[in-house]
Amino acid sequence: MRIDGKGLVDRSKPIRFQFEGIGHTGFEGDTLASALLAKGVRLMGRSFKYHRPRGVLSAGSEEPNALVTIGRGAVQEPNVRATMLEIHDGLDARAQNAWPSLKLDAMAVNDLAWPFLGAGFYYKTFMWPRGFWERLYEPVIRRAAGLGALSGAHAADRHEKAYAFCDLLVIGSGPAGLMAALTAGRAGADVLLVEEDSRFGGRLNAETFQVEGLAGSDWAAQAIAELCGMPNVRLMHRTAVVGAYDHGTYAAVERVNAHRARPPEGGVRETFWRIVAKHAILAAGAIERPVAFENNDRPGIMTAGAVRAYLNRWGASPGRRVAVFGNCDDAHRTARDLEAAGVEVAALIDSREDIAHPGVDCRVYSGAVVTGSTGRLGLKRISVQAADGRKEIEVDCLAMSGGWNPTVHVTCHMNGRPTWREDIASFVPTPGSIPGLVAVGACAGEFSTQACLTAGAVAAKEVLKDLGLKPPRGALVPEAEDTPYRIAPLWAVPGKGRAWLDFQNDVTVKDVRQAAVENFRSVEHMKRYTTQGMATDQGKNSNVGALAVLADVTGRGIPETGITTFRPPFSPVSVATFGAGAQGMGFAPQRLTTSHAESVVRGAPMIEAGLWYRPSYFPQDSETHWRQSCDREVGYVRNAVGVCDVSTLGKIDLQGPGAAELLDFVYTNGFSTLKVGRVRYGLMLREDGFVMDDGTTARLGPEHFVMTTTTAAAGQVMRHLEFVHQVLCPHLDVRFTSVTEQWAQFAVAGPKSRALLNAVLEQPIDNDSWPFMACGEIMLCDVRGRLFRISFSGEHAYEVAVPARFGESLFKLLVARAEALGGGAYGMEALNVLRLEKGHITHAEIHGRTTAFDIGFARMVSGKKDCIGKTMAAREGLVDPGRERLVGLKSVGEDATLSAGAHLFDTSVAMTPETSLGYTTSAAFSPTLGHHIALGFLQHGPDRLGEVIRCVDHMRGLEAEVEICDPVFFDPEGGRARG
């Protein structure tokens, strides 16, 4: 019922929206909850287990009942709290977890079966017959469980992430937060004030108190205006601080456009903020708790503070005839505010015997409790046990208050445990729980407006002292109400029926008692057995009440019983927001070579190689299968000349007198003996003796080397070099830097490679001036480059490097020249076949579990010097001849397909884990040899050359007899590379 003259909604701006297919009108400033309550709609949802009818319980993000689904398809969003959802034109909200309709929910039959569905019933049944769990029980349970539904469509809205830094983060803009921000802001501190709500002011907007003679909401507006005028203060509303992390880092979610139907063009729905704050003041207020009594869960029963909020902030009375039930003076305010607004208050029921007159006209029952309620889809009547007997009172709304719980949650995010305060029957934050954060105001158990204002100012002054700033002079804390908070705990009204604790998960007092009977007496056991506190509000409304019941039934005190841990996020965060930017291609950077565009033009499928993209092959029109392209490209290299971009390999430039010694230490083999103008292959181990990486290193000058790494290990090797230098060999005078991005490098491979190069080099080369493994500077097309005579293909080959800005044109030039010579560009598939034919290893072979011994390179570990990994590589288990060691494999007889990942067995043995002797790592069809070849690791492998074994790939349905051979299939003497 809308109350004339009340509330902060803008009655000049009506908004049309739908709930459950029915059109309604609300006003700007309304939430879905306030707009529906104003229209007399009380039923908004169904509970999780019993599908009980549910109405709104609260007026904030802690709402457990009124959850709705909005949007459709790619923007469908389930489990939206009606209490936080700002209505907007076109809003179409649907109830959830109800079928066929919210009013008539078939699953409500569960409510009749409640005696069989108590705490943990599912642990005791559904076990027979075996196999029915997956086939019958679980599907039924899964369909019945859950709340809202995802649409299944990919998310469509944009989200983003941002960082913010500040001297002081103020969380919450009620009286305490505002006063803290004002005090610090006036002193010139860099302040960030964040407010979860769409409107700054906190409870000042929901109460009728005055501050400094102004209405609370007006004083708040004035304070906000002043803060907005300060260049050193930033204000963010619709922003919830959801987590506290180490070293002053906070996570916050800003609903940038989430309150609109869709973000405007180019806008984001939400922003995920990482806030780094030197200090933080938590002024997050408090959350009111319900009282457990029989059937306390009906639509129309809500917290007393929520009733005041709907009345005072939104001008909507949740009922026409309201009763108020509480255990504290605070509840009396609800009765007073309702009466002042002209709403009929049927009764004020206070569980305490001895209370001062609350100043209301309605009937006051002291020492009385509500013992039950009726009304299937909405509250009709309450039963009251008063001193003079039992009463039935007809009401459509019950405002209840079990007292207030300070919003301690964020202070628990770093394992802080809140402290029990007997005088207010609540937990308060334990100081120091979050380094650099102090909780003030209602959040710290200070419940009067005056106390909140003062605490905010005092806390801000402490921060200013630490920042070295002077507190503002003359600024006084404004005057406000300072009534004491009086409460006598009342957790559960005794009774036989079900009294709800966790409204969403349907956990009742009975469930907690039964859990205790079954020896789930630890608060964590009780939680896990009953699901108490595991709903979407994470127990914000119910945990304290539930543990009080547990404490009672187990005969312990509340502090001794303890509390479960509140963990981030404070309020739920969309995965799209927390993971903003990653959808589609944003998950990882894309690294493109200089030949990328040309490769795409040539139709090459680009495949991921780490963060890089590389061409798989370069198809020609006549080709219908990748193998045709691959075989042709292999032919280029074996018979003419091929060109391949190898820029993705890591390149590290090392300079200084200590460079050679550093290389000697990181490589198994020596590099100080390498002559200037020469290249050497090197093998690098991890300190545990296994191979880390391999590659070539060129000596360009006495103190100047260029190392290449594999594409995959470039970052790891760079870090390793820094480690070895700074941590192990700080005495070495050497500097190095990654130059991977600075140089474009192309392999030019094949018998005609020198002919190609000589057509573009300013100074022609021959076998004497540029023999195998020579390197040096060159000039081509007026560009200074580098030329390395190295070969991964086994052919007469070079790698030519130029500054990256010339890469694209050089690639085009080289490919055009190669094509003129009967060759052309080749891609990863051909490169892999070529290296496999030569038995060259990649990370398929050096996969982290293989040693130099395993790959047949034991002789590369120099006996003359120490190197990383040398000691541990000599462990007995790593030099056992029985280890799986590298071999070549080729099919016997008619060619059979070989595959990578197959297992190796002796012929005619049963295939068991014990008889598995090894596995293949790489396999391909060799167009050069005309049959399949593979590399693999085999126990005693090199000792078994010539023997025939079985190669079995269950996954692909392949099996072949293979001959064990040397890993070098082609040109074992290596003459082609030298020619």
Partner: protein
């Protein structure tokens, strides 16, 4: 009391007044034949199998807090047998077989759900590594199926197959893999052990291990001294501290692993799905929450909580893989303490102290191992011999390099597995 649907029915009709404690809370005795330090999943399972398989019933489980309060109560509940290195594969294969009969064995519904696990791969190299793994699984007698891209699409149509940074090439499908209700596993083993006479001593923190002449003779606890000739240490997350009480240093560094759950949702993810390029894995609980996680935070920690970089990375992986979960809301995040070993595989072994045994180093893979770990550790404690399925989990493999079990191939840096 035997649990059954009939029992639930009967109790429901008679006011649920007949339920009894699932386990007793006995006072500690002065001496036991054996004590197990640690009332987590592995410790409770060890007690259960000591009693069931070896007839040792005069034993106690000593738990610092409440039973099942460690990693068994905070993991992402995945059960699988998809290891490929000999030494690991037979162990996890055994464990899965134990899982498959666990409800009947324990008379407790642990909700073991064999909904299938699909490990996605995103390159030819990853595919070949998964093929090797799948072939090892088949050879071990377990199940594995190689799916191509279309095969994955049939099972998981909601993945982003069109616009994603690391396209899906295919997946390794392990139909017998799945999930279980983690807490119920602890409770089921606890109740099973208790019913066989094992004393479960909660709030009983071990403060010292008594050793005389190179042999263990008991422990000191916050509830008094307890004598025992055999002591088993099974305290994931505190292994190094408890081992230090016996003068041992372990090849372990403890790290934090975060896990996440969303609000409840109607069924939308029917399998366990893992992402090969982002260390992301996800399933949906029977309650409807999406349960997911990723990699370690990568710094040593006992804080049971993580930080934003890893949390964000996990969400980002989810968004690139399956952007339909964008509107699911993260409800809760938490952390567990992972005892990381230098090869990523566990230790079930004797120690240099006679009668003192240890079961530790489960890294972040301990949940699925609970049955077989308890089975094998009970065997070791009872007989002094390694069980055949867990014979590879020795201390000395690191020193000798013999029998290292480095499934990830990342070497001796603890946090890289």
């Amino acid at each position: 009391m035997t649990f059954s649907g009939l029992r639930v029915l009967k109790e429901g009709l008679t006011g649920n007044r007949g339920w009894a404690p699932h386990w007793r809370d006995p006072e500690p005795k002065a001496a036991y034949d054996a004590v197990i330090i640690g009332g987590g999943g592995h410790g409770l399972a060890t007690a259960y199998y000591l009693a069931k398989n070896h007839g040792l019933t005069n034993i106690a489980v000593l738990e610092k807090g409440y039973i099942g309060g460690g990693n068994i109560g905070r993991n992402t509940t995945i059960v699988r047998a998809n290891y490929f290195l000999p030494g690991n594969s037979e162990f996890y294969s055994h464990s899965l077989k134990l899982w498959e009969g666990l409800e009947e064995d324990l008379n407790y519904n642990v909700m073991h759900s064999q909904r299938g696990i699909i490990n996605l791969f995103h390159s030819d190299g990853q595919r070949d590594a998964f093929v090797r793994r799948g072939n090892a699984m088949i050879t071990q007698g377990d199940d594995a199926i190689l799916l191509d891209r279309e095969g994955v699409r049939q099972h998981l149509p909601y993945l982003d197959f069109e616009n994603t940074r690391f396209p899906i090439y295919g997946g390794l499908y392990h139909p017998r893999g799945g999930t279980a209700r983690h807490d119920a596993v602890a409770w089921g083993y606890a109740r099973g052990a208790d019913r066989r006479g094992v004393d479960l001593l909660q709030n009983c923190e071990v403060t010292g291990i008594d050793i005389e002449n190179g042999a263990v003779c008991g422990v000191q606890t916050t509830r008094g001294a307890i004598r025992a000739k055999k002591v088993g240490i099974v305290v994931a997350g505190r292994s190094s501290q408890v081992a230090a009480m016996a003068g041992m240093r372990l090849p372990i560094e403890s790290h934090v692993l975060q896990a996440f759950v969303t609000e409840g949702l109607k069924p939308c993810i029917d399998h366990v799905v893992t992402f090969g390029m982002g260390h992301f894995y996800i399933s949906q609980s029977d309650k409807g929450g999406l349960v997911f996680g990723g990699d370690l935070d990568f710094y040593a920690s006992y804080a049971s909580r993580g930080n934003l970089p890893t949390a964000e990375h996990v969400m980002e992986a989810g968004m690139t893989l399956m952007p339909m979960i964008g509107q699911a809301k993260l409800l809760r995040s938490w952390g567990g303490i992972m005892d990381m070993t230098p090869d990523g595989s566990p230790i079930i072994d004797r120690t240099e102290t006679d009668g003192l045994f240890i079961d530790c180093g489960w890294c972040y893979g301990g949940f699925k191992a609970v049955p077989a770990s308890g089975y094998a550790f009970a065997h070791l404690m009872a007989t002094g011999q390694h069980h055949e399925t867990a014979a590879a989990f020795r201390f000395d493999r690191f020193r000798t390099g013999r029998g290292l079990l480095d499934e990830e191939g990342t070497g001796s840096q603890h946090n890289l597995h």
